[in-house]
């Protein structure tokens, strides 16, 4: 096995996630692009765990587990905020969110 394959794949996935975050206007799709970036980082962590001879093996896997848990929490809260935004403004496009204060 050449560990370079998953490393390069992870780099490409992260770049695509960056593109999605910058390009997408739907808030749900922006969150999905963030998930893609987190997945790329997880892939790096797991691959690094098998590549190097670490003092504490499997630390990368434990870190990946933490990242998965935090991603789950982030998605839960983020999607709840998106739902609330949809109820208030009837849109989920991030461009339509007014940044200045509006009189409700």
């Amino acid at each position: 096995m050449r560990p370079v394959i998953p490393y390069v794949t992870a780099a490409l996935l992260f770049g695509l996630g960056v593109y999605g975050v910058l390009r997408r206007r739907n808030a749900v799709l922006v969150l999905m692009s963030v998930e893609l970036m987190l997945n790329a980082v997880n892939l790096i962590l797991i691959t690094a765990d098998t590549t190097v001879r670490a003092a504490l093996p499997q630390t990368g896997q434990v870190f990946a587990l933490f990242v998965i848990v935090i991603a789950a929490a982030e998605v839960g809260v983020g999607l709840a905020i998106v739902l609330q935004l949809y109820r208030l403004r009837a849109t989920v496009a991030v461009d339509d969110v007014p940044l200045e204060k509006v009189d409700a």
Partner: protein, 244 residues
Amino acid sequence: MSTGEAVTFWILVWPALVGAIGMVLARNAIHSALWLVLTMLSIGVFYVLQSAPFIGMAQIIVYTGAIMMLFLFVLMLVGRDASDSLIETLRGQRVAAVLLGIGFAAMVGTGVYRAMDNVTPAGLEQANAQGNVEGIARLLFTKYVFAFEVTSALLITAAVGAMVLAHKERRKGEKRGQPETMRARFYPGNYPGPKPGPGVYATSDSVATPGRLPDGTLTDRSISKILPVRELTSSESAPKGTEK
């Protein structure tokens, strides 16, 4: 390491990348979510191949099973027509996104390739000798036990926060009772009866064909509002003649 692993990697790289590209480029939000599921499944197999079977299973169960289904639920709630418009509102956003995204991928990809090519992996056979789950649990409950507990606190806070945010407060007076509903239904200007069904003819029973009123005219009320969005031509939506 075996060549079987390398072959599996070479096969699965393409679904992972194609899924990511499809997720970024798909117009329809639902298609986007399904492309991302493909990517996440491929990454889960990557984990299993790299002697991390527990994380691979967690990836498949938690990511594709729970998180992506949550995304799909929210997409259904927000509306099926939540597709992205490609109109640029910020000038130069596309160029910046391409430059940053693709440039970042190319830069990190080539850097990692130059650094990691011809590196023989150390492998985890020794660490996994007593079992992968046992090894993770040993680390998780000894060295990282504090972080583990903090994570559980974070999860329960996020769950409560999501419930509070998504909860819709409805006061007692806001709920419309039966008399008010009936009054609104029979109020002048509102049609209280059921809508007419689409036209069913000898040669066509398509839902895109409007029904005919007693006076012979077609009624637009009998077809779904989504159909004009599909831009049917007038010949497609017109009832087809019966005589050949």
